[in-house]
C-alpha cells in the first residue's frame, strides 16, 4: 500500500492510499451514484479514459465474478473509493486482486463526498493521480491534458462477431460497436435476435450486404461529435435504426441534430425517466456526459422520454426515418431492470414476421 495524490483542475490536492506504486494517470473525473455493481462499472467501455469516483462509501463487499464483467477488460483509467470493504469469500476473487491483476490504479481512504461536491459545483473536471509528490511537471501535464478524441477506437473490440438468438430467432440485428456492453448483446439475443457485432468503422455496404432487419448503435465513450457517423447517415431510411446512449446521440447527429456536454453528466442506477407517450415513470441506469439538444432535432422527430430530474432528452423516435433510441441503459447491469422490455419491443418491431404481417 502506497500513498497517492489527486490533483484536480481547480488546484485542489487530495491525499489517498493507492494499490500500486510508480503510477501517474490522467483522465476526466466523473462520479457514479450506484450502490452496487462496481465490477460492471469498471468494465463498462463508456468509462474509457475516465477516472470514476464512487459516491457509495463501501465498495468491494461481494468480490468480483466473471459473469458480471460487461466487456473483456477494465475500462476506467483509475478508480476512486472511500473504503474497500472486501472480506475473503470462498472461491470469489477480491476487488483488490482484480484491480492488481489488471494493473488498474485504485485510490481509497479519500473524501469521495468532497470530490463529488466539487464536480457538482464546477462541472466536469480533469484530474491527475500520481503516486509521486505533485510537482510543476504534473500541473503542466494536467493543464495540457485533452480527452482522447479516438476513445471509441481505444475501447472497443475491433472485430466482427456473431451471436445467435436465444430461443426462437425472430430478427437479424447488425450492431455497430462503439464500445458495446456485452449485456446489450445478451438482451438482444434473449429477445430473439441474431446479433452480428461490427467494429465502429464498418462500411455502409458491409451492413447493407448482410441482409439485416435492423441496426443497433451501441453505447460508447467520449464526445459523439468525435465519432465518424457517415455509415449511420447512409443507413437512415434504409434500415430501422435503434440506439442506446452514445448510439442515441449519434442518431441525433445523423439526423442533423446537435448534442451538448452536461455540467457533470448522469452516472448511476437511480435516474427517474418519464415516458411521454404513456405518462409512466420508471427508474433507469445511466452513464452519459453528453445529451441531445431537444430543439435541434428535426420536426419529424418526437421526444419519447425525458429525465425527471433535469428535463433532458432521454429518448426520441423519428418514424419517417425509422429511428428509435434511448439515452439511458435499458440493459441495466448495473442498475434497475425496469426498462428491459424495450429490447423485446425493438426486436419484435424489427422482426420479419412483423413486417410481413
Amino acid at each position: 500500500m502506497s500513498r497517492a495524490k489527486i490533483l484536480l483542475e481547480n488546484g485542489t490536492v487530495l491525499d489517498a492510499e493507492a494499490n500500486l506504486n510508480d503510477k501517474t494517470v490522467l483522465g476526466e473525473l466523473v462520479f457514479n451514484t450506484a450502490m452496487t455493481g462496481y465490477q460492471e462499472i469498471l468494465t463498462d467501455p463508456s468509462y474509457a479514459s475516465q477516472i470514476v469516483v464512487m459516491t457509495y462509501p463501501l465498495i468491494g463487499n461481494y468480490g468480483v465474478e466473471k459473469e458480471f464483467a460487461v466487456s473483456k477488460k477494465i475500462q476506467v483509467s483509475a478508480f476512486i473509493i472511500k473504503e474497500n470493504s472486501e472480506t475473503p469469500l470462498d472461491g470469489v476473487m477480491s476487488l483488490s486482486d482484480y484491480l492488481l491483476a489488471n494493473d488498474i490504479l485504485c485510490l481509497s481512504n479519500v473524501d469521495t463526498r468532497k470530490i463529488t461536491k466539487i464536480i457538482r459545483s464546477t462541472g466536469s473536471i480533469n484530474c491527475l493521480i500520481t503516486t509521486d509528490e505533485i510537482t510543476d511537471k504534473h500541473r503542466k501535464m494536467l493543464a495540457e491534458y485533452e480527452f482522447p478524441k479516438n476513445v471509441v477506437e481505444l475501447s472497443c473490440e475491433k472485430k466482427t462477431e456473431k451471436f445467435p438468438a436465444v430461443g426462437k430467432k425472430i430478427a437479424d440485428f447488425a450492431l455497430i460497436d462503439y464500445g458495446v456492453k456485452s449485456s446489450i448483446v445478451e438482451q438482444l439475443q434473449l429477445s430473439g435476435a441474431d446479433v452480428t457485432v461490427f467494429p465502429y468503422d464498418v462500411s455502409t455496404e458491409t451492413i447493407l450486404d448482410g441482409n439485416f432487419d435492423a441496426v443497433m448503435l451501441s453505447n460508447g465513450a467520449g464526445n459523439p461529435k468525435d465519432v465518424n457517423i457517415e455509415t449511420v447517415k447512409n443507413l437512415i431510411g434504409k434500415l430501422p435504426i435503434f440506439g442506446i446512449c452514445l448510439g442515441h446521440q449519434l442518431s441525433a447527429l445523423a439526423l442533423g441534430g446537435d448534442t451538448f456536454k452536461l455540467k457533470f453528466g448522469h452516472r448511476g442506477a437511480n435516474h427517474p425517466i418519464i415516458n411521454l407517450e404513456t405518462g409512466k415513470v420508471f427508474i433507469s441506469s445511466q452513464n452519459h456526459g453528453f445529451a441531445v439538444d431537444e430543439k435541434s432535432l428535426p420536426s419529424t422527430a418526437t421526444i419519447t422520454h425525458k429525465n425527471v430530474n433535469d428535463g433532458t432528452v432521454e429518448g426520441f423516435c423519428d418514424k419517417s426515418k425509422k429511428i428509435t433510441c434511448v439515452q439511458f441503459h435499458p440493459e441495466a447491469t448495473p442498475g434497475p431492470e425496469d426498462a428491459r422490455e424495450i429490447f423485446q419491443n425493438w426486436v419484435k418491431s424489427a422482426s420479419r414476421e412483423n413486417v410481413h404481417a
Partner: protein
Amino acid sequence: MPKDLSIKKIIVIGSGPIIIGQAAEFDYAGTQACKALREEGIEVVLLNSNPATIMTDDDVADKVYIQPLNVNSLEYIIERERPDGILAAIGGQTGLNLVTEACNDGILDKYNVRVLGTSIDAIRKAEDRKSFKDLMSEIGEPIAKSEIVDNLDDAVKFVQKIGYPIVIRPAYTLAGTGGGIAHDEDELKSVVYQGLTASPISQVLLEESLLGDKEIEFEVMRDSNDTAITVCSMENVDPVGIHTGDSIVVAPAQTLTDKDYQKLRSASLKIIRALKIEGGCNVQFSFNPKTKKYVVIEVNPRVSRSSALASKAAGYPIAKVTAKIAIGLQLHEICRCENSEVAI
C-alpha cells in the same frame, strides 16, 4: 394526475398506545403525514388515544380528538366532522384494523368517506395468508412451500417432495409449544407426533425451512400512476431464523451483488403493483446465497417500523410521501424539498 381537489378534509388515525411491536415510529410517521397534508391546504382531523405523542401537539393537526381508537368514537367524529377521506396506512396495525372494521360496519359508506391511499381490499389481500399465497402464485413469486397435515403419513409424503430440514408448527398452541425443526425422518416422526398431541385440533403446519438464508427487505413506494420505486434495501446482519427484534438491520443491503439486488428489487416492485398499494409498503425476502433463490416471507401493506428506519437511513420521508400519494399526487410530482442537496 395532480392533486385530487375534491379532498378538503381528512381524518388521520394515530397509532394509539406504545406497545411491543408498535412504538414511537408511528408517531413520527403520523406527524409527518399531518404536516404533509396541511402543506397541501387540507384540513387535518386527528384521532389518537395517546396524548403523550408529538402528533397530538396543537400545531400538528387542525383538530385533535383524544378518544379511544374504536369504531364508536370514529363514527362520532366522522358524524361531527364530515371528512372527505380517511388515512389509515400510517397509524400502524391499529389504524388499519380500525378502518377495516369501520368499513365492514358500513360506516364509511354511510357518511361517504373514502379510504385514501391503499384500498381496504389491497390490505386484506396482503394480510390474509390464503389470498396472499394465491396472489403470489398467480404472479409467479415464490413463497415458502407449506402444507397442513393431521397425520404422520401425510407429513412424510410432503417431506419426500420438498426435503429436509422442515419446520413443524402445531395449530392453535401458545408460543409454538410442540413445534420444532426436523432434519431426518426420526426427528420428523417425533416432532410431528409431539405437535399433533399439543395441538387442540390435532393439526400441524409443515413449512420449508429457510434457516440460514439472508434476510433482505425492501421499502417500496407506488402511486396511482403505477410508478413504483424502492426507497432502500435493508439486510439483517443475522440470518433467517433469528428474530428481527433480536437482530441488527443495515441499510442498504451490504452483501448482495447487483444482479441479486436487482432480482429482489424487481420482485418487490412486481408485488407492490400486484397488490395495487398506493403509498409505502415493506417486502421481506429470504435469499439463499448458495442457490441464489429467494422466497417472499411477507409484505406489510403500510408504513411499518422498517419504514421509519429506512426514512432515517435514506433521508426519504416515506410517511410524508405516502400522505401526498393518498391525495392523488404522483411520485414524480412530489418534491423532496428537505433533501434537495442529495446527489443523484
